[in-house]
């Protein structure tokens, strides 16, 4: 169920250039179980900045009633967020959206998890839950530059992990699709989150595979009411899906990227 709650910051640290990890605690965590969902954060109580900020859930810890987010400091909202200290409260609405379907892959099968940039974090909880289920996981993580690489060690503990940077400053030079091709990575199901060009490339490379893509879009309400984050559906002029409430995860081909 979607709830709004004041949650307390437990930890907050910079983990790469402009990349921050924040851990929050509160009863709302009990509502979180599907990897790939997100929360909508009101960063300041006042009208400025006005709108909430959607940020994906990176890790859920039910025992400690904690969850983790990893975000990139980019605009006004995330710059203010980056200054928040442990002990301070944040207004959280969530969990929102539909996450990655775990049932798409069975025990003993292989899942390929492909993340690009700030799309990498939600794959972490996904990977943990897949491993728990007995699924063999392979990770391909793409970043712009070595300064913004994160979570590599955490993913490596869960399964085979490849890192690529666009400029070749770390790991393999190139895009995630180059890595998949170079290592002839095979899989039963592919889960991905990242920039649209990357998702589009994956959709094109694997037209007949079981592929799930998590989209990012500018949002208003985050609950499906404002129609800000719609995307088109193939072969229709009026059909649509809302990224926030029908997604953010879609089966490849369900929406036009």
């Amino acid at each position: 169920m979607i709830r709004k709650e004041q949650m307390s910051i437990v930890a907050h640290e910079r983990i790469a250039n402009n990349i921050y990890r924040i851990v929050l605690t509160g009863g709302l965590v009990s509502e979180m179980n599907t990897p790939g969902q997100f929360v909508h954060i009101k960063i300041e109580a006042q009208a400025e900045p006005l709108l909430r900020r959607p940020i994906s859930i990176c890790e859920i810890n039910q025992e400690r009633k904690q969850f983790t987010m990893i975000y990139r400091k980019e605009g006004i909202g995330t710059s203010i967020l980056a200054e928040k200290m442990p002990g301070e409260m944040l207004d959280i609405l969530g969990p929102l959206g539909n996450g990655f379907p775990l049932e798409a892959v069975e025990k003993g099968q292989t899942a390929l998890l492909v993340g690009g940039g700030i799309g990498v974090p939600p794959l972490y909880e996904l990977s943990k839950q897949l491993v728990k289920k007995g699924v063999y996981v392979v990770h391909v993580l793409g970043f712009q530059h070595k300064d913004v690489v994160f979570l590599e060690n955490e993913f490596a503990k869960l399964g085979e992990t490849y890192v690529a940077t666009v400029d070749g400053s770390y790991g393999i030079k190139g895009f995630v699709t180059d890595v998949i091709a170079a290592h002839s990575l095979s899989f039963d199901v592919l889960y991905s989150c990242g920039p649209k060009p990357m998702l589009r490339a994956l959709e094109q490379v694997f037209p007949n595979k079981n592929v799930y893509l998590s989209l990012e879009e500018r949002m208003g309400c985050g609950i499906g009411a404002c129609f800000a984050c719609v995307c088109r559906v193939p072969n229709s002029d009026t059909a649509y899906r809302k990224v926030c409430s029908d997604g953010p995860v879609f089966k490849a081909g369900e929406v036009i990227l």
Partner: protein, 313 residues
């Protein structure tokens, strides 16, 4: 006595708080969060004759204490609204105000005629002020003669009272309000959004795919207050006020300016529980202000011979 109950043409409201059109869809998303029967009314998303996909994305951009939107009247069309959305809303004890939009006068008339027959539609809100569609919409809202003619045509076919939504993108809003009153409107709703724009400094391109959008949120509240203050003194039909309302205090300010009820728009995106929260807070605020019934507040800022407001705080 219900201190919040308000009677308006076609509308017996248990309280004067309603979500504004375009900020609440057809209620389905918010119904998962609270009981919609708590609301005074619901202004449903603008409905056109045919289904509309709307504009390309990005459709929203944040601004200082506000936001720009250019959704482009996305809706499933009047047929689907009548067969699916309105029947679904019947489970709630709440009157519906149907927002009617179109690109030609004939569109408006046909949608008004059909949608006003729905049992839970108690009033129409004529959307002559949407800034985000290429044809119609705002054109109907900027020329008083055109707005008056459209009002007359819709009044002739509507089974329920007709409120006309005024655009602030106009030089003389009083003249427009008077023309619409004279044409037979039962009430006014105001204000719609102000046309604005944002440009991305990284690539010098407009942020919104539609280039321009409608500005809403707390940033436009003083404009709404000023316009309601002016219009409410010039017409005798009631005004449902809107434009940046976020709190019970804002509601009272709109009443003092001249509103008889209010709609909450953008704030629903910031806090989906804002409407029930305001409804809950209003009685305490009325106590603090020494006000017995909320309707006593309407037009208090300009009514002569009224005792000045006692503030118990």
């Amino acid at each position: 006595m219900n201190r919040l109950a308000v009677e308006l043409p076609g509308l017996s409201l248990k309280n004067p708080i309603m979500p504004a059109s375009g900020c609440f869809g057809f209620g389905r998303e918010y119904a998962r969060l609270y009981d919609l029967s708590q609301l005074g009314a619901i202004m449903i998303k603008a409905t056109t004759l045919e289904p509309r996909f709307g504009n390309l994305t990005p459709r929203v951009a944040e601004t200082p204490s506000g936001m720009l939107n250019a959704i482009g009247l996305q809706n499933p069309g009047v047929e689907k609204v009548l067969s699916e959305e309105l029947p679904w809303l019947e489970q709630f004890d709440v009157p519906i105000i149907a927002n009617v939009a179109g690109t030609t006068m004939e569109d408006y008339v046909q949608v008004a005629k059909e949608i006003s027959k729905a049992p839970n539609v108690h009033a129409l809100e004529l959307n002559i002020s949407c800034p985000n569609v290429k044809k119609g919409g705002i054109a109907f809202g900027t020329i008083p003669e055109v707005a008056a003619e459209l009002t007359k045509l819709v009044k002739e076919v509507s089974e329920v009272p007709v409120y006309v939504k005024l655009s602030p993108n106009i030089t003389n809003i009083v003249e427009m309000a008077k023309a619409i009153e004279e044409a037979g409107a039962d009430g006014l709703t105001m204000i719609n959004t102000l046309i604005g724009m944002r440009i991305d400094i990284k690539n010098a391109a407009p942020i919104l795919a539609n280039r321009t959008g409608g500005l809403s949120g707390p940033a436009i509240k003083p404009i709404a207050i000023r316009m309601i203050y002016e219009v409410s003194q010039a017409v005798s039909i009631p005004i449902i006020g809107m434009g940046g309302i976020q709190s019970a205090e804002d509601v009272i300010e709109f009443f003092y300016a001249g509103a008889s009820a209010v709609a909450v728009g953008t704030a629903n995106f910031v806090d989906p529980f804002v409407c029930p929260n305001i409804i809950e807070e209003l009685p305490t605020l009325l106590d603090k202000l020494g006000v017995n019934h909320i309707s006593e507040c309407t037009g208090r800022s300009w009514r002569k011979g009224e005792p000045s407001v006692y503030c118990g705080a």
